[in-house]
């Protein structure tokens, strides 16, 4: 750095020193930023691949419906039970079933009491109670849900808000059960009031631990200030999705006795949530996004309560076979498919596939029907083959749940697509509109689609949520679309900020380095688990690069192989130092690396390791299936049901599993409840679920 002599050179010295320090520091910051972004990528790719699983699972059910020929009446019953559950009740039945008046509130209850009509004091009491971790009694919850449902029913599909009545409108994005974030928003922005309107843009539940509390608070404010508080439905206000993501499980721990009723009521409340909110005829707020076929007029007219789940298949056994043919040619004769079995009603078809042919020709129609059925089957088969990793052309073999089947199916199909698009779509930077393969539902819509849409309805601006953003919010499409995400620390403490539409930023609590390390740890743990779950496929891939059978491969080949198996689109070379600890001459001993990964997952040694791998890979699907089978939400299923589920699942997932294998599995679980299995124990035993806090 030179020697000291005169003041000038001293200044020159410090100048040079400053340059060096700045240079060095900026390098450090850049590294941190890269780590941050990589970690973010990891979380996102894993999350989206989970959502894909959800759709795969759903397709699996559809496939079962179409293909599975039960070998016994028992199996037939078993299958149909999977689908007929979740009946939507008629009004009177619902009231009777979810009756709350007979529920006594004991004197020992110290939580808040509600009476109707609700007043602002009730809201305050609830907020305070929840802050002190108290719970609301089931009776009040049910009562609240009944009143909410009554209120929601009279609302239109698209709520209208006018800013001339209230001075401010605040829009909040996904909350996902994170009550603290809602409190923070209320604290910083104020509670809903006649001068302070709020729009909550869906995804109130799942993932976070306090979904029920959030719903109670939102519904309470909705009833107290019906003109000022607006709720939009999100894709998580959906029964099928709830089964997977924890809302259902959470409810049953809260109230074993009444959990079932509460859940039923929620199903029937969610479907009545409005689909969109329009402010001043200028700003449209929807949960997901739009597509190039989004039609606001159609959306306004549909009966939104028919869509209990946009992912759920529901049928009535007797009458379902007929209407399709009836509507077309007036004859009540069921078609037959290639196998000669009675055709499962094709209530769902790819919107883009060939139009129904001229219906006068019945023969032609049958042929067309058989062909499209075959196509569907083939697609499902392909989707079920988990070793295949090409991105599939997704066919919507999911259907709406229908309350009545009198009307022609084609209209239902269109309506269903409208709702699906609103709840599941994401914006993309490229022009055009294509299927959202990552999520498995809805579309990716480009700036041109936005422009056209806004133009068509004379709108200025779209606000949506549905995607977690690191800063809590993000503009795109020439600032015509705003994404708002309110659940902070969504993946892990420090992963992202929450935001609401007043561009507020939450405060830093930890230093940047601390935050990044913590989040990183979490991300890499999840990634290592994923790697473990694909052990066999990885070995095969590695071996293909190790022709001489040395047991080693280059790091470059490691990266290529891992991406080809996992398909997460991650920068593996950047992540490698965190995943691969030791190498020799730049070569990796892959077998021992995989062994290390396995050791991290505390596995049960006596269980076949390939079976374990299968369980890990499909764990969320397994959990969902169990919960569907467990119709009374008791957490118990019979031994037989367990075996059957497992057999079905494994046969259609192309997993080889002997009967002994299944029995070993079952024997390792402690089931002493008269042939019933507490599947929570099963899942926890294999660390398939995170411990839920009690």
């Amino acid at each position: 750095l030179g020697t000291l002599s005169s003041p000038n050179s001293l200044r020159g010295l410090t100048f040079k020193a400053a340059v060096l320090i700045q240079q060095w520091y900026r390098r450090h910051v850049a590294r941190l930023e890269m780590r941050r972004r990589c970690t973010w990528r990891i979380f996102q790719s894993i999350e989206y691949s989970c959502e894909q699983d959800q759709i795969k699972l759903h397709n699996f059910f559809s496939y079962l419906m179409d293909q599975f020929t039960p070998s016994s009446s028992k199996e037939r019953d078993f299958i149909s039970r999977m689908f007929i559950s979740g009946e939507s009740y008629k009004e009177a039945e619902l009231e009777k079933y979810c009756d709350y008046e007979s529920i006594e509130v004991p004197d020992s209850y110290t939580g808040p009491h509600l009476s109707f009509p609700l007043l602002p004091d009730h809201a305050t009491a609830l907020l305070e109670a929840f802050q002190q971790k108290q719970q609301l009694h089931a009776r009040y919850v049910l009562n609240l849900l009944h009143e909410t449902r009554k209120h929601l029913k009279q609302l239109p599909n698209i709520s209208h808000v006018s800013t001339c009545y209230s001075e401010e409108v605040t829009v909040c994005g996904d909350l996902h059960g994170q009550l603290d974030d809602l409190f923070l928003i209320f604290y910083k922005n104020g509670l809903p009031s006649p001068s302070k309107s709020y729009v909550f843009n869906g995804d109130f539940v799942d993932r976070g631990k306090q979904s029920l509390e959030i719903l109670v608070i939102l519904f309470t404010f909705l009833l107290i200030y019906p003109k000022e508080v607006h709720l939009n439905r999100g894709n998580h206000e959906d029964h099928m999705v709830n089964l997977r993501y924890g809302f259902c499980a959470g409810l049953s721990t809260i109230s074993r006795v009444h959990g079932k009723k509460i859940l039923r009521m929620f199903q029937n409340v969610f479907c009545w949530l409005p689909l969109a909110t329009l402010i001043d005829q200028k700003v449209l707020i929807i949960h997901g996004g739009i597509s190039d076929t989004t039609d606001l007029e159609m959306l306004e007219k549909i009966q939104r309560d028919k869509f209990i789940s946009v992912l759920r298949l529901k049928k009535r056994k007797e009458s379902s076979r007929k209407p399709q043919i009836e509507a077309v040619n007036g004859e009540s004769e069921a078609g037959t498919d290639a196998a000669g079995n009675e055709a499962a009603p094709r209530l769902s078809l790819q919107p883009q596939s060939a139009q129904a042919p001229n219906t006068a020709n019945r023969l032609e129609f049958s042929r067309w029907l058989r062909q499209t059925v075959q196509e569907q089957i083939d697609t499902c088969r392909r989707l079920m083959d988990i070793s295949e990793s090409e991105p599939e052309e997704l066919t919507y073999s999911s259907v709406v749940s229908l309350k009545d089947v009198d009307e022609p199916c084609w209209t239902r199909q269109e309506e269903w697509k409208q709702v699906l698009d609103i709840l599941w779509s994401d914006p993309m930077p490229q022009e055009g509109c294509r299927e959202n393969k990552v999520r498995g539902g809805g579309c990716y819509f480009g700036p041109d689609v936005t422009e056209k849409f806004l133009d068509k309805y004379s709108l200025q601006f779209l606000i949506r949520s549905h995607e977690c953003k690191q800063e809590g919010y993000e503009f795109c499409h020439n600032r015509k679309v705003l994404t708002i995400f309110s659940a902070s620390n969504y993946y892990e403490i420090g992963s992202n900020r929450g935001a609401y539409y007043q561009a507020n930023k939450t405060a830093h609590m930890l230093t940047m380095t601390q935050r990044i390390s913590r989040v990183e740890e979490s991300a890499f743990r999840a990634l290592r688990e994923k790697l473990f779950a694909h052990t066999s496929a990885l070995i095969t891939a590695f071996r293909s690069y190790d022709g001489d059978n040395t047991g080693k491969i280059t790091l470059s080949n490691w990266a290529t192989a891992v991406e080809s198996v996992l398909r997460l689109g991650l920068p593996w070379r950047m992540l490698r130092p965190q995943l691969v600890r030791s190498t020799e001459d730049g070569m990796l001993e892959y077998k021992s690396w995989l062994d290390d990964l396995a050791m991290e997952q505390r596995s049960q040694e006596h269980i076949q390791s390939s079976l374990l791998e299968v369980i890990y890979r499909n764990r969320s699907n397994l959990e969902t299936i169990f919960r569907i089978i467990d119709r009374d939400h008791s957490g118990l299923i019979s031994f037989e049901e367990f075996q059957q589920t497992w057999k079905l699942f494994s046969s259609h997932m192309n997993i080889e599993l002997t009967d002994d294998g299944i029995n070993d599995l079952v024997r390792s679980i402690d089931f002493n409840k008269d042939g019933n299995i507490d599947f929570n124990e099963f899942l926890e035993a294999f660390r398939l679920v995170k411990q839920r806090p009690s």
Binding site: V19, L20, I21, Q22, P429, T511, P571, M574, P577
Partner: protein, 166 residues
């Protein structure tokens, strides 16, 4: 003309690394990156350019709209890595740099001095950069930077996570 003697695989590997780093910052997945992030990308590939050097590089590849295309970046960056330009600053050099700012040679620098030097001299820090550094670097009780400890801490953090070898 070094490339003539190197293993083919090496260049391919370098290109893959560059592409990966680039894509992390490619928000719209269209093989372009905002020019302002180029410095970050270059640095996370193991290089220690100063701001002037970053700007010089950027000038070669920046489009009129401020974005940089992958193919241009790849071309320029591969050369940078092969030539081993912008080498890391050795630990002792950084130590001397801190010492140069420590007028009284007492082992620490006061907050005021630090701020003065780094925001007024050299390739000046922005307000935000300065604040971020202070949050971690300063000892809150004395409001001074004990640079030996600070430097050690940062070095440890780095090598633990990203030992980058070409």
């Amino acid at each position: 003309m070094l490339t003539f003697y190197l293993r083919d695989g090496l260049i391919a590997e370098i290109e893959k690394k560059i592409t990966e780093a680039f894509e992390v910052f490619d928000r719209e997945s269209n093989k372009t990156v905002d020019g302002r992030e180029i410095g970050c990308i270059i640095r996370s590939l193991g290089c220690f350019p100063n701001e002037a050097e970053v700007q010089e590089l950027l000038a070669k590849i920046e489009e009129p709209d401020g974005f940089v295309h992958l193919e241009n970046f790849l071309r320029v960056m591969t050369e940078v890595l092969l030539d081993r330009r912008f080498q890391p600053i050795p630990e002792d050099v950084i130590l001397h740099a801190f010492e140069a700012l420590d007028e009284n040679k007492c082992g620490y620098i006061t907050k005021e001095d630090l701020v003065k030097h780094l925001t007024e001299e050299g390739e000046r820090f922005t307000q935000e950069e300065m604040e971020d550094m202070l949050v971690v670097a300063l000892d809150p009780e004395t409001n001074t930077l004990h640079y030996r400890d600070y430097r050690t801490k940062l070095v440890v953090d780095e090598t633990k996570i990203f030992p980058f070898n070409v």
